[in-house]
């Protein structure tokens, strides 16, 4: 009996799919783009690394949410206990949480490197200003991710770090506006269970949705403009 080449199986599957929707055409358009020689330098990869890290964050974040409990009530609070459980009891929990933690740190470094490259090669100039703005928005979103994620373990460090950041946000003049921002973030008169609930919702529902949308916009812009010529 002839041994089927994997290619034959692959062709059969792709043909079945292509009869139903022109996937090959769509994938070809997305993948087979000429990369100019000047874009082969390593520093043109920073954006792609950011993308891979974001995907990794989404994946490990979903996994962590299977065990994390966003409840700051009680002592020790369920939020703290669940992080402790992930770290010490769940199989490979330390690994998944570690990837999420270090991924978050690396992400900020890579975003800054990517931004520096875009600035260095002048890629922010016309007609690409909108993409620069989208990028800066995403930088702020990632910082918001970091801020809200930092509170979630609900340990002493998280609690007092958040108290400080909320105090800073609450220092916006005039005094009434600052107090309003503080109350909205805090959800009460002190940093407490409502704060954790708000930060959790922002971290897990709001920000991922917005950043995925903006990443799509970012990539469509790149495709529309092409990679910018070097100076």
């Amino acid at each position: 009996m002839a041994i089927p080449h994997p290619r034959e199986i692959q062709v059969a599957v792709v043909e079945w799919l292509d009869e139903r929707y022109p996937f090959t055409k769509a994938v070809d358009e997305a993948l087979y783009q000429r990369v100019p020689n000047f874009a082969n330098a390593f520093y043109y990869c920073f954006g792609g690394m950011v993308f891979i890290l974001v995907v990794l964050q989404l994946l490990t974040g979903i996994l962590l949410s299977l065990y994390y409990v966003p409840d700051a009530g009680g002592n020790p609070a369920a939020a703290y206990s669940s992080v402790n459980f992930i770290q010490n009891s769940v199989y490979l929990g330390w690994l998944i949480r570690g990837v999420h933690f270090w991924g978050a740190n690396l992400l900020i470094i890579m975003v800054l490197l990517h931004m520096a490259r875009v600035y260095w090669t002048g890629s922010y100039r016309a007609p690409r200003e909108l993409n620069w703005m989208v990028g800066v928005t995403m930088l702020l979103l990632i910082l918001a991710f970091s801020l809200t994620g930092y509170l979630l373990p609900w340990d002493t460090k998280a609690y007092f770090a958040t108290q400080v950041t909320i105090k800073i946000a609450g220092g916006v003049p005039p005094q009434q506006l600052g107090a309003f921002i503080r109350d909205i973030l805090q959800g009460g008169s002190v940093v407490g269970p409502p704060t954790l609930q708000r930060f959790f919702t922002i971290h897990v529902f709001l920000l991922p949705a917005v950043i995925v949308l903006l990443m799509y916009v970012h990539f469509r812009f790149i495709r529309a403009h092409g990679i910018s010529e070097p100076l």
Partner: protein, 177 residues
């Protein structure tokens, strides 16, 4: 491709399979830790052993036909383990409550779960039977079936006298969650 003569195992076929195996193993290496992560973690502090249950009345003072209902301790969260059972109940199944019953001179400790589908039976004060609220099964105080749909008697719990006459030690498990 379909009408061509059957392929020989060429160098190209080998390389094709090699790439397929390489990609597959890469995917497996990436997914394996995730699958491991999804496995239920062992509950911390889970431990089998006798659970001490305090009763409102001394077991020595029970008259014939007396019934005392008791619940499994909740601090820490625990359950009793059935000693026997038929139908929905089986030896080793969890019960979260039980009855100490004196019936025809014999002291029995029964699990609370109906042998039909596991609902908690309740003492019928007037008829002196255990009645199931779900489908109407009825049991004699010694645990035997008086009326279906249950087909098997109530399960027993393994027990021993405790440190005083108001306490019994019932076989159970600290659940660890």
């Amino acid at each position: 491709m379909a009408e061509s003569t059957p392929r020989k195992f060429t160098r190209r076929t080998f390389l094709g399979w090699q790439i397929a195996v390489l990609l597959t193993s890469t995917v497996i290496v990436g997914l394996a830790p995730i699958v491991v992560f999804l496995l239920p973690a062992p509950p911390k502090g889970q431990k089998k052993g006798p659970l001490s249950v305090s009763l409102p009345k001394s077991i020595n003072e029970l008259a014939d036909g007396d019934v005392i209902k008791f619940d499994a301790p909740t601090t820490p969260n625990s359950a009793f383990l059935m000693a026997d059972g038929g139908g929905d109940n089986a030896p080793g199944d969890l019960a979260f409550g039980g009855f100490v019953v004196k019936s025809e001179g014999k002291l029995n400790v029964l699990a609370i779960n109906c042998s039909h589908l596991g609902c908690s039976v309740a003492l019928n004060q007037d008829a002196r039977t255990f009645d199931c609220p779900c489908h109407g099964s009825r049991f004699h105080l010694d645990g035997n079936v008086l009326h279906g749909p249950a087909a098997y008697p109530l399960s027993h719990l393994t027990w021993a006298k405790g440190k005083d006459a108001n306490t019994i030690d019932v076989d159970g498990i600290v659940l660890g969650f």
